[in-house]
């Protein structure tokens, strides 16, 4: 028993997943280029952001680590 449904009868609908995949591939490639070409220093700065929140030296307690 084969499962069919009405959209299969529309010509060319099969191209849709291919187009979708292509869109993602292009998107992902652009993303990779962006990430690889970025300066390392920038990432080093960015990843420190959570660890310095401007209240370190004003804390009322010294238990902050």
């Amino acid at each position: 028993m084969k499962f069919r449904n009405y959209l299969e009868t529309i010509s060319g609908i099969g191209i849709l997943p291919v187009i979708s995949l292509l869109i993602f591939f292009l998107f992902f490639s652009a993303l990779l280029v962006w990430v690889v070409k970025s300066r390392k220093q920038h990432f080093t700065d960015m990843e420190q952001l959570p660890l310095e929140d401007g209240s370190e030296n004003l804390s009322l307690s010294s238990s902050e680590s």
Partner: protein, 739 residues
Amino acid sequence: MNTPQESSGTNQPRSGAAAVPLQSSVGPMDQFAYDNKIVVWFAYATAFWGIIGMLAGLLAALQLTFPSLSFNAAATTFGRVRPVHTNAVIFAFVGNGIFMGVYYSLQRLCKARMWSDKLSKIHFWGWQLIIVAAAVTLLAGYTTGKEYAELEWPIDILITVIWVVFGWNMFGTILKRRERHLYVAIWFYIGTWVTVAMLHIVNSMELPFSMLKSYSAYAGMQDALVQWWYGHNAVAFFLTTPYLGLMYYFLPKAANRPVYSYRLSVIHFWSLIFLYIWAGPHHLLYNALPGWAQSLGTVFSVMLIAPSWGGMLNGLLTLRGAWDKVREEPVLKFMVVAVTAYGMSTFEGPMLSLKTVNAISHFTDWTIAHVHVGALGWNGFLNFGVLYWLIPRIFRTELYSRKMANAHFWIGTLGIVFYTVPLYIAGLMQWSMLSQFTPEGTLKYQFLEAVQAMRPYYMLRSIGGLLYLIGAFLMCYNLFKTIRMGKALDNEPAQALPLERQQLVEKHGKEHWHRWIERRPIQMLLWSFVVVAIGGIIEFVPAFMVKENVPTISSVKPYTPLELEGRDIYVREGCYTCHSQQIRPFRDEVARYGEFSKAGESIYDRPFQWGSKRTGPDLAREGGKYPDSWHFNHMYEPTSMSNGSIMPPYPWLFRRTIDAGQMPAKIRAMQTLGVPYPEGYDQQAVKDMAEQAAGIQKRLAADKINIKSDKEIVALIAYLQRLGTDIKAEQAAGGAPMP
């Protein structure tokens, strides 16, 4: 309480060495204070609603073993308790957890107090009002019948308003920040905000016909597609992306070391939000959904493994060289298990979206086990970790008892194991028992035999849930004692250079273009929206544009007024939480339930009721299987007709009278939505309803059952007897074979 939160130019020196030259060249730092009070409020709400949501879950779980726990009352049956559980856990426990984490981390990452204390308060109380309104209306039976989007239209509007308040406050904070770059956690928050707004608005399109009730703007297959696009992405953008934001902030904080790879987090963010949005159709494999949409859902689901695991590894590797800390620190233990659970469920998810695996798991308890690895492990444990980390910090003290927190960790972990393992076994058993044939070619097991076989596993699962809940109680006590020991620092002083003066000392030179996005929250918002909208548009446009091409089955007619009334009762009682209306094209399902379901059969179903779990049998072709009297007796006392059934009785349906006064408004609403009732039928409907009811009353009387024709049970019987019969009429009339 109003305290001076923001001031600039009060010339206080910063003791950090790096700040000194900046200060001398560009002037004093801004002095301000972080709002901890709002964080604490959300923390209390997280813990409180967590307990409530888990209690509702435990009750629902126990009802599957002990149906008498429905207490013979409408509000306490499984069909209403289960939506309360899911909504409470998702929107109250996890929702408040998100806001707690966002309000704490956003202020610090932006080096700015929240934009408006007033908006923070409106957000907090508005969200709690939504939760209370949700609990009350769901227990009272006001539901749209669409999973995780059950809330009716006035609450939907309130959610939209409060979500805008949250966004406004968040963007206000981001815009007035003193840190030029937006850390990746903030990207996740922005992506979450814009996508949840889109999902909620699109899926909540409905036409009200009374103060608290509405019909879905979409019908049948289209409703299913929109609903599971929403349902899947509620998991993605409410249970996952905001928590990833929290992971990227709180895990480095708790471990006191930066994230393993910031590069990886950038890839994680963009590819995750791009891929997630496409994956919804994997909830409808083998259903009456176009084949291309099913394939799309599968392909993108499988690809999701890559960014998900990238994120998980990024989280775990952040702890490289710090595993000795993990052994000591309960906060890190909770976080490690949370991230591991994230990895497990994001590996399992794509596997479940493979058609062959999905054929086994769909409609069984396997799915329930899968979501609980995510809910209990990922969301629950991350919430616990953040709570254990935050509360002592804000209250300026140490955690009351580490030992108790460790006990919580182990009890909670055991709870997850006891919850999920029995359900994995149960899921496989359901599939195995229900799909077996005898050598003679008949079904080997009755549905009820499979139900009976589940009972020990349901019991074990309840024990798992209970253990997890005990752990949560331990946490509440531990945090309560911690709070009593300390004193809250409602306004935490901080200082930073304002942005405009930072620019004076930064080098000007050639910069990479991506920083253009990274620094500008509005661009980030727009790009996130574009990325998530692509998937939705490609899925929806063909499914909606070819509406005219649905091979309408000529014998599929709109529901009669009495059937429509019965359908509304079916939705109100949450029958869809246990019964599907979707027969998949498998040999065993066709043998058990009848011909497989076609898209053309549900074109008048607003909402669609295909369901996602078969605790009871499928009802898509229930019509005409049994006499009216069988349904009458079965609804009154299920075990009298089906020995060993775990369905609760519905005695109130025999007492309550149909509200015929609403019928004209219902018919008019359906007409507006395009259901072809004849012109002026709203005036005729009540009469037709009474006639059809009198017919059922007569048939019942022939079986020696006397009931007034205006009772709700009569309408429900009319609906159940209609289910799936249209197609039979077509075949009886020698119609064309179904596509």
